[in-house]
Structure formats: structure tokens, C-alpha cells
């Protein structure tokens, strides 16, 4: 399905029109010069093409002053671009004093945002329109990059170091959030939406769900029930990795496959022995009767939110196979549909 076909991104921040102005200037200047070069080359190549009468170039040297002209003039134009670009960069880097603080964490492969009032969200960010927002951020693992194309800003998110970025939205609406620094398997699934709201709506939203979305409440439960001790979501866990699980085919110990939907996740929490993922043993205790439906829903929606992308996901290897795999086929067996290059 071919959807709409934009040629210019939406402008939704105070900086966007300034960035677009520089872009337009550069397009016009470099476009003109490039077209001029093409036309001159085309014209000269035809006019002075080799013919029986024109076997030999004419003994003519263009004036040497040309050489100076095309060193000095481009240099001056370049300096103009440099100054304009730097001026813009200063504006993008300098955070206004009255900015509203929001905290962000990047991790493989999701964005977690936290509002000062305690509201948490995953892969969605609600902000008020017309107010500078300062995002203070760090990564829990590898380098990510938080990118808002409609606001024309991005900044790398580094482990073990806080970085800042800011923007001021000018239009309400829903805009993309992308991860722009390659960060592993589901890099292209590490996306989300920023919801720009009227300030009154934003206040309402803050008051409305002080406990956060279902998924983020589920995340708290995930820790409360100590799920995270085994489902560590990396290679060292004793339980299967849940990142990217939702919606994929899971191979079981009896070699059957099952789609990881809500029902499967619910069953796996309440009756873990029913379907055991290939490569694991049934060591998980049952949570039947220990968890309210409400909590269950939150947990399921948390696991759902971990499945950032629809595609099949190759599970991370178990620790033992990592150590022995230097030179053996890397793709693990369970649920793996990966083709080897």
C-alpha cells in the first residue's frame, strides 16, 4: 500500500523553520552551481566535440585569474554557510531558562520517559505546546540517538553520561520519535510518538493517569514479582528474552510453534509448564491465584510493549553458546527464522 507521499517534513518546533530556511538557501545556491556546471560541461562537450576538422585542441590557456576566482569566491560562500550553520547550532544547543524538564532513558530497544510529576511512559511522550522542553537523558546500555524529525533535533544518548536536548513545539499533533544511532537487533523498532497537546490537555493528562500507562505500571509489577531476576532480557537470563517477543512465532520443546499473543503470554504467567520454550527448562513457578486480573493485564501489556516490531526476532543466545560460538554458526535454534548471509 502506498500511502501519502511527502517531500518536505512537517514543521512543528520553533527551530524547524530556521533549519528549513538554511536548507532552502543551500539547495538554491548549490543547486544553481551544480546545474551551471552540468550545463557548461554539456555545452562545451558538444561545441568542441572531436570532428575530422577538430582533431586537435586549440593552443589556448584560459586566464590564470580564473583560478584565483574559483578559490576565493567559493571560500567566501562557504564561510557564509559556516556562520549561518554555527548560529543555528548555538540556538539548538542553548537551552532556554524556563524549560520544562523531562527525563529520558534509552535502552535496547525502547524509549522511557519520565515526567517530573512521576508520570512514566514508554515509546510515547506527551508534551505541552508552546513551552520549551528540556530532555535530560542517558542510556542503560549502548549508544542510542533520540530524534524528533518534526522538531529538527536529535542527540546521541550515551551510557553513563547525561546529555541534554531541547525543543519547543509549535503545533499540536502526533510526530515520530526515532532512534538514529544503530543499537542492535531492533534498532528500527526503537520508535515512538510524541504527542504535542494544548497546555490544559497536558495538565489533564498529567492528572488523569498519575500511575502511568498500563505498560509502565506493568513494568513496576515486573519488578515487584521479581520477574526480572530470570527474564533479564539479555544473554545471561535463565528465562527467555521478552524483548521483541510479542507477535512472533516461538518454538517449543516439543518442536511445535506458537504465536506469542496475549493469550500465550497470559498462559505462560499463570501456567508456565504448559508451553516451554525450546532451549529452556521449566523452572518458573506458577502465578495462578497470586495475581489479580488487573495486574495480569498490566503485565501482559508490558510484555506487549516490549515487542516493538512485528517482524520475527532471533532470540539472543544462551550464555554457554556465546562462549563456544567463535567460528560456529551463530544463529541459535529456538524460533530462529534468520537466514545466514
Amino acid at each position: 500500500m502506498l500511502s501519502d507521499f511527502p517531500l518536505w517534513p512537517e514543521q512543528a518546533s520553533t527551530i524547524a523553520s530556521d533549519v528549513d530556511a538554511l536548507m532552502t538557501f543551500l539547495c538554491v545556491v548549490t543547486g544553481t552551481v551544480s546545474v551551471l556546471i552540468f550545463v557548461v560541461i554539456f555545452y562545451l562537450a558538444i561545441k568542441y566535440r572531436r570532428t575530422p576538422e577538430n582533431q586537435l585542441a586549440q593552443d589556448y590557456e584560459p586566464p590564470k585569474a580564473l583560478e584565483a576566482a574559483w578559490i576565493i569566491i567559493p571560500f567566501l560562500v562557504f564561510m557564509f554557510m559556516f556562520v549561518w550553520g554555527s548560529w543555528l547550532y548555538f540556538r539548538i544547543q542553548r537551552v532556554p531558562d524556563n524549560a520544562l524538564d523531562i527525563y529520558a532513558t534509552g535502552k535496547q530497544w525502547m524509549w522511557k520517559f519520565q515526567h517530573p510529576s512521576g508520570q512514566r511512559e514508554i515509546n510515547t511522550l506527551h508534551v505541552p505546546v508552546g513551552r520549551p522542553i528540556r530532555i535530560t537523558m542517558a542510556s542503560e546500555d549502548v549508544i542510542h540517538s533520540l530524534y524528533f524529525p518534526a522538531f529538527r533535533v536529535k542527540a546521541d544518548v550515551l551510557p553513563n553520561r547525561y546529555k541534554e536536548m531541547w525543543f519547543q513545539a509549535t503545533r499540536t499533533g502526533r510526530y515520530h520519535i526515532f532512534c538514529a544511532e544503530y543499537c542492535g537487533t531492533l534498532h528500527s523498532g526503537m520508535t515512538g510518538w510524541v504527542e504535542v497537546m494544548e497546555p490544559t490537555d497536558y495538565q489533564k493528562w498529567l492528572a488523569g493517569g498519575a500511575e502511568g500507562s498500563l505498560a509502565s505500571q506493568g513494568e513496576k509489577l515486573f519488578q515487584k514479582y521479581a520477574c526480572n531476576t530470570c527474564h533479564t532480557n539479555d544473554a545471561t537470563g535463565r528465562g527467555p528474552v521478552l524483548l521483541g517477543l510479542y507477535g512472533t512465532n516461538v518454538m517449543l520443546t516439543n518442536d511445535a510453534t506458537v504465536v506469542a499473543d496475549e493469550n500465550y503470554i497470559r498462559e505462560s504467567i499463570l501456567n508456565p509448564q504448559a508451553k516451554i520454550v525450546k532451549g529452556f527448562t521449566g523452572i518458573m513457578p506458577t502465578f495462578q491465584g497470586q495475581m489479580s486480573e488487573d495486574d495480569l493485564l498490566k503485565l501482559v501489556s508490558y510484555v506487549h510493549s516490549l515487542g516493538a516490531q512485528k517482524t520475527a526476532v532471533v532470540p539472543v543466545e544462551t550464555p554457554s553458546s556465546i562462549k563456544t560460538s567463535a567460528g560456529s554458526p551463530l544463529n541459535p535454534g529456538a524460533g530462529n527464522k534468520g537466514t545466514k548471509p
Binding site: M23, L26, F38, Y48, Q55, P62, E67, I322, G338, P341
Partner: protein, 551 residues
Amino acid sequence: MSSVTLHDVRFVEPEGTRNYITHDYGALSWLLTKDHKRIAILYLFSITALFMLGGFFAVVMRIELLTPEGDLLTSDTYNKFFTLHGIVMIFFFLIPSIPAVLGNFLLPLMLGAKDLAFPKINLLSWYLYMIAAVMGLYIIITGGVDTGWTFYTPFSTQYSNTHVFGVTFAAFIVGFSSILTGLNFLVTIHRMRAPGLTWFRLPLFVWAMYATSIVQLLATPVLAITLVMLMFERVVHVGIFDPALGGDPLLFQHMFWFYSHPAVYIMILPAMGVASEVVAAFTRKKIFGYAFVAYSSLAIAFLGFLVWAHHMFVAGISVYSAMIFSFLSYFVAVPSAIKVFNWTATLYRASVALMTPMLYILGFIGLFTIGGVTGLFLAAIGLDVHVTDTYFVVAHFHYIMVGGAVMAYMAGLHYWWPKITGRMYPEWWARLAALLIFAGFNLTFFPQFILGYLGMPRRYHAYAPEFQVLNVMSTAGASVLAVGYALPLVYLIWSLWYGRKAGPNPWGAVGLEWATSSPPPMENFHETPVVTWDAYDYPAMMKAMGETQNV
């Protein structure tokens, strides 16, 4: 002006004399050869094979990107494909392409020498290349690597479960191949020029190879050091780059780009050298502003070392260092602009023959111009914040590396094909391929500038649906491009048996390489030429030729 013209100095062997191809027979005579021409042929086969491998990864990725969903490959496989595409194309095709094939073949011929300064080291550099290539292939077959060709830490040292160690080790080894080639060329250019061949009589291709060799020799060791530190951290967990171990991931980026930005010039400087040769030969004219073009190669090589952090404007460097690197990046654009203007001015009042090599080079000038001016967008730091790490960057560097370096490589291959093989390629098919490559290239990569400005990030396996139309255009262009690259493979092989016999100088070009037979004899010249003329001395040559016949 000396009274002796190039025309008088012919070293053409009598018909039936053995040339470098027929000198010896058997596999060992090739695998143990110390002849620079035969080593060039070994490189030609190797890099062509790896170009096809890298191209295969590209084609599969373009098919995957036809639809917004990730449906053909898994995410992990896609990530491995773009990583391997980058590693194979950069380390195993682009960096060796013009220097190791055309440079190896032509440098001694252009200098009037019998061989390079160190023939055995030349063979060693091919073996190092092959060892690294075989390691790379083994790793690809056994699972590949998914870090991106940039190997950013801490992903590469702590989080990737793929063969990072093996691949970085292969890149480490192939780096030494590059260093040895650079060293060999530098010494050869300094020590083995024919009598009378002063620096400012050198063909501009030699100047370009000289500048390239300096970069290879000085930058590649930094990559080697960086990769060793990366391997050390990954295996022994010494904290150098990983903050969890007390290291700094930005240190890795600084060190990596300190090599990898100059590496761009290792790819494009030789391409500029080919462009100068081809423009001179097909206009029958001395390149306008010869000295400016020669010095601009050295200026690019030098300034290329001072701009590495322009890859890191959003990575967390200070505002002031960003400004300095932005300024220097604009500075390095000046010598590149000089070359484009000088090539264009050379066409004025010339005798322009639009044969295949010239078509490729005119295409090269156009595409390199687009690649160059879009670099000005990226150097504007306020704009870079938006477009860095998007398809804008992907389009920009493909315009430089494919539109620039590969087009020039194709130009050089066709231009010197009669010298290398003694046979002409079929002109009509070659022009068709050149036009297909030019059209296919633009259709593939121009939409990616727009995609990038719209905000589509690089290295995305699945993407937002509004980006689909431009991606479909790009994939359509890639299929045209693939046909364009497949054609020369067929007709060049065909020409080895059925091509017209070329004779020593089918283009009526000047330059010592055209003064000997095609293919040249093992020792290149049976007596040492004495040079008394400037490079591209077409007026003198044409005077002599005009008295005999037109080519």
C-alpha cells in the same frame, strides 16, 4: 620546448614478442609473480569477486526495503547485511580498487620504471589482502557480524553476539596490505622516476597516488591501533571504550574517524587522478591549472586529517569543537572545488571525444559535484543535527564513493583496458552500460536525499509507511544499476578473445604507458626512457601525429 617529442620515443615490441601475460604459464607463475602488472591482475580478480559479494548484500537490502515492514529478512540478518555491505565495499573493494589495480599496473609504466620499488612487498600485500578476505568470507559463512562497519562501542565490545573479533582482525590485516601498498608507491615515486621526469612533469594520476599513499601510510596505523584496543576490550574486558569498565565510547569514535575520514580520501583521490588522465586524453589538452590540481591533491590529503569530528556533531562534543571542525570541513571543500572547475575549464576549445571513459568521467564530475555540495549541507552544524544519521548521509557518501570513486574506477578500467589486455572493449555496449549506471545510480540515490530530510534514519530494517514511495524508487534504480554493473563483466570478458586488437596507443594519448606495447612486455620498456616533455604535451604530439595520420 624540447625538440624531442614523445612521438619519437616508442618502445613498441615487434609483433610476436612475449608480453607480461604470455611470458610464463601456469598458476604458480601468477601466484608467485613479482611483476607489478600480474599482481594488478590478481587484485583485479579479487576485488571484482568482492564487489559482487558486496553488491549482493546491497541488492537484498534494497528488495527488503520495498515494503515498510521487515518481511524478507529478520532484523538480525538485515543488520548483518548492511554491516557486511559496508565492510566488504570499503575495506575490500573501494580502498584497494584504483590504487591496487590501476595504480599497481600503471605507476611503473607512467614513471618509466621496470617495476615498483619493492616487488616482493607488493606480492605480500596481495597475500595479506587475500588472507583477510578469506577470513572475512569464513566469518560471513559462519554467521557474520552486526555492528555496522563503524564498530561503535560499547555495542561492539559488550553487546553484540556476533563475530566482532574475527571481522576486526580481518580489517586489521587488510589495513597492512594498504599500508604496504602506500609505502611501496611512495618510495617508487620518489626513487624510480625516469631520467628527466621531474615532479612537475608527472601525470596527475601519479600526484594523486602520491597523496593517497601518504594518507594510507599515516592514517591506517591509527585504525590498526583502534581495532587492537577494541579486540582487547572485547576479549579481556580492559576498560578503554566501555563506560561500564571506566572507558569512554567517544574516544573510540575519535580514533575510528581519525582513520575513517581520511579513508574517504584514499577512495576519492585516486578517482580524481583517473579523472585528470581521462579528461586530458579525451580533450587532447593539458589539464587547466596543472599545478593547482596537483597541489590540491596534497591539500586534500593534509586537510583530510583535520576534519574527523564532523562525524560526531550530535555525539557529545563541545559546541566550540563542533565549530572548529565545521570550519575545517568547509576548508577541505575548496581544493575539491578547484579540481571540478579545472576539469570543466579544460573542455574549453578542446577536441572532446565522448568515448566510454570520457562518458564515465563526465558522469563522475557531475555526481562528485552533487556528492561534494551535499557535504556542505552536512558541514553546516545546525543543519547536520537534523540530517546526520539519516538517509541524507547515506545518499551523500554514495554519491562520493559510488558516483565518484566507482565511476572513475570504471572509467580507468575502460581507458587502460587496451593497455592491460591488448584488446578493445566493444564501444557501443560500454556506452550503454555507462548510461545505465549513471541513470540507475541517480534513481537509486537521489530519492534518498529527500528521505533523509524527511527524517528516515539509516540502518532501518522497517520504516514508517510514508517513506515507501521514495524507497520503491530507490529499489527500482538499484535494479537498473545492477544491470549496468553486470554488462561490463560480460563484454570485458568477451573482449579478451573477440575484442579488436588495440595496438600500443588506441586513444592517441600521451604518457609513457602509451609508448610501450599493449600488453606491455615483462620489463615494461626495453630501454630506459628519457623524458624531455611536460605531462599532457598534446600540442607537440599532435604536431608530430598530424604529419602522419589521424587516430
